[in-house]
């Protein structure tokens, strides 16, 4: 998908040399239409043999019964060792009792911040807990270091969900059959999140920030929560004078010390149930998971490898900016692994926006979210009740 298809084409010839008799045809589809295209392919019974799948899509394709469980292959060929993978990332591939994908590359979100400002304010290392983080944000704004301390965009849900998960909220309850948005842990995270807006530490509108990189360089904000794709963008788009003045750090925690939780993202490689060449597909999966191939793929694409052995091979642990990702990836959890998650996440985002703009209180939003999400999950409850009479 997207640029990955271009880079994987440079790796495939090596696989074909090592496995005579297997021919791989790579097809590239743009990310934006990938989801639609795969579902249409499924409905038309023309799914590929193997495919890259965003790990949040795995629950959906499992619900379709489109994917082949991989447990038998893992056991038969002891080539892939799950202990070489980040636990939270590996978890995203397990639905129910079965494994449906092998992690290919990983991402998660953490802090990108202005290290020069942090040092000026006496933080040679970034704060490890959310209360300290809030304190520092206040200082940044009070001393006019930047216009705002942090950017928490209202058109996304990741930042908010990360904070809720760290606060101990599971978001859903009873095996992901009901919303759990009046839970004290969720309410606590919600109220904490709001303080950044109430105290003017974070802008409410996004329209002024037409270009993140420029606003970061122009002292508009000092901290941004984002993922590894921005490592390259920050390097290429920020002016030369800014290059020594930013770095990354893991998310803060609500407990004693960091890192706090973040979300498990990235892409896995999956095998489709309809594939007539399952053994050959497995050969390719095992090849793509091999540490040396993973390191090579990182050099081509810049995507962070899923196999931790490859991190050492590619020298990623020596670079402090990527090392922060390594530490964060030890503490990642999947978002609820159900096909309805994207809809639920969009609901959360809408209600957070209404609360920030003062249309609803936290309690009202929690109640409304529970109602809407319970409605959405009605089908899921019915399917489960049918399975276990």
């Amino acid at each position: 998908m997207g640029v990955e298809a271009r880079y994987v084409q440079e790796i495939v010839p090596r696989f074909e040399r090592e496995n005579p008799g297997i021919k791989v045809r790579v097809q590239s589809i743009p990310w934006l239409s990938a989801h639609e295209k795969l579902l249409t392919a499924f409905a038309g019974n023309s799914t590929p043999d193997l495919c890259q799948l965003g790990n949040t899509w795995i629950p959906e394709f499992t619900a379709l019964e489109a994917l082949e469980p991989l447990d038998a292959y893992i056991e038969k060929y002891a080539e892939i060792d799950s202990s070489q993978y980040f636990g939270g990332i590996w978890q995203t591939n397990i639905i129910g009792q079965n494994l449906y994908g092998i992690p290919w590359y990983v991402d998660t979100r953490l802090l990108f911040y202005r290290s020069d400002i942090f040092v000026e304010l006496g933080y040679s290392t970034p704060p490890e807990t959310w209360p300290e983080f809030l304190e520092l944000s206040r200082k940044i704004v009070a001393q006019r270091k930047t216009e705002y301390a942090i950017l928490l965009p209202l058109n996304g849900w990741h930042e908010f969900v990360i904070m809720a998960l760290e606060s101990g909220s599971r978001l859903l309850r009873e095996d992901d059959c009901y919303g759990d948005f009046e839970n004290p842990a969720f309410v606590r995270a919600f109220e904490f999140y709001l303080r950044f807006y109430e105290e003017g530490l974070c802008p409410k509108g996004m329209t002024e920030v037409s270009n993140i990189y420029q606003s970061f360089a122009d002292n508009y904000f000092a901290i941004y929560i984002t993922g590894p794709w921005n490592l390259g963008e920050y390097r290429d788009r920020l002016p030369q004078s800014m290059q020594d003045r930013w770095t990354t750090a893991p998310m803060p925690a609500f407990g004693e010390a960091g890192p706090g939780l973040s979300t498990a993202g990235g892409s896995s490689v999956v095998m489709f149930r309809n594939s007539p060449h399952k053994e050959a597909v497995w050969r390719l999966m095992a090849f793509l998971a091999r540490a040396d191939v993973q390191a090579e793929f990182y050099r081509l694409s810049g995507d962070l490898p899923a196999n931790t052995v490859a991190w050492n091979l590619a020298g990623l642990r020596e670079n402090p900016r990527t090392e922060a990702f390594y530490r964060q990836l030890q503490k990642v959890v999947p978002t609820p692994k159900i096909p309805e998650w994207e809809q639920i996440a969009n609901k959360i985002q809408q209600y957070v926006e209404s609360v920030v703009f003062g249309e609803l209180t936290v309690a009202e939003a929690g109640r409304a979210l529970n109602r809407d999400v319970d409605n959405l999950l009605d089908k899921r409850r019915w399917l489960r009740s049918r399975k276990e009479p």
């Binding site: 959906e60 379709l64 489109a66 037409s210 926006e353 089908k379 399917l383």
Partner: protein
């Protein structure tokens, strides 16, 4: 006598024979899918049901009820109404104005103008959207540059909830008016020259000629154009889909875009089929009202 009946019968069956292929195609590719969609709108067909149809349930009118309770539906309905109420008159005026101009005998290079007004109609929308995104760019866009010359503050056209819809309307009208212009030109050329000569002899000025000859003679054409434009604008989709994805703050979310999102993003097929039939009902009612108004006007 008997042979006449037989002959009549024979003629009818021949007619049906010739109609059959077209009717069969329409039945298979139009009526069957519509019927299937109608049935689907009474079920909760969704992502779980694509893999296994036994996972769909008959839910009666629940989809319709839920839709009417969904604030997003009302928002989309308001946005679509806004687009139609502003866009349709604007498009008709623009195309009539252009047709009158291009049809004028005093104009040189008439076919050049006709061609250039029609060109946006045949250009793909995606290409057009890319260009217009540049035109609307808050800092480097042409419109803000021109406004800047007159000292008007720049506007974040596509990023501001108040301005995103007007921006899309301007683009949609620009893209579509050439088509209606061609139909208007055909209508204008059907007006007999003798009427103008008679008006001229009676001492009518140019405005009176337009008001009492051109406009009444174009009534049929205008009626046709109003209805087709109305139906087309009610199905407002491609512009927000490629330009804004319904944002900012759902200010450009249209009914069809909502239908697309529910159906092809979240795969709630039953729900989005219900939405399609509600839209069908709305278009039907609006068209009937328009027809009634027109007939009333003609009497």
């Amino acid at each position: 006598m008997k042979s006449l009946v037989a002959e009549e019968k024979y003629r009818w069956s021949t007619a049906y024979l010739f109609l059959a292929p077209a009717m069969a195609a329409i039945f298979v590719f139009f009526f069957l899918p519509v019927l299937a969609a109608l049935l689907m709108s009474f079920t909760d067909f969704d992502i779980y049901s694509i893999g296994n149809t036994s996972n769909a349930r008959f839910v009666g009118l629940a989809n319709y009820r839920n839709l009417l309770q969904n604030p997003l539906f009302w928002k989309a309905l308001r946005n679509t109404g806004y687009f139609v109420l502003v866009g349709v008159p604007l498009s008709i005026f623009a195309s009539m104005f252009a047709a009158l101009g291009v049809n004028s005998k005093r104009l040189h290079f008439r076919s050049l103008f006709r061609l250039s007004y029609f060109l946006p109609v045949v250009t793909t929308l995606v290409a057009v959207a890319v260009i217009w995104r540049y035109i609307y760019h808050p800092r480097f866009g042409l419109i803000n540059y021109l406004m800047g010359i007159f000292g008007i503050q720049p506007v974040d056209w596509l990023g501001n909830p108040h301005w995103a819809m007007p921006a899309l309307i301007i683009m949609a009208v620009w893209k579509g008016f050439g088509y209606n212009m061609i139909i208007f030109i055909a209508g204008l050329q059907n007006i007999p020259e003798t009427l103008y000569e008679a008006a001229h002899l009676d001492g009518a000025n140019r405005w009176q000629e337009f008001r009492y000859v051109t406009l009444p003679m174009l009534a049929q054409t205008t009626g046709f154009i109003t209805i087709t434009t109305l139906i087309g604008y009610c199905q407002f989709f491609a512009e927000p889909y490629v330009m804004t994805q319904g944002g900012p703050l759902n200010s450009t979310l249209s009914i069809v875009l909502l239908m697309y999102q529910e159906g092809f993003r979240y795969w709630r097929m039953g729900y989005s089929a219900a939405l399609a039939f509600i839209l069908f009902g709305i278009i039907l009612i609006v068209t009937l009202i328009q027809l009634r108004l027109q007939r009333h006007h003609e009497l």
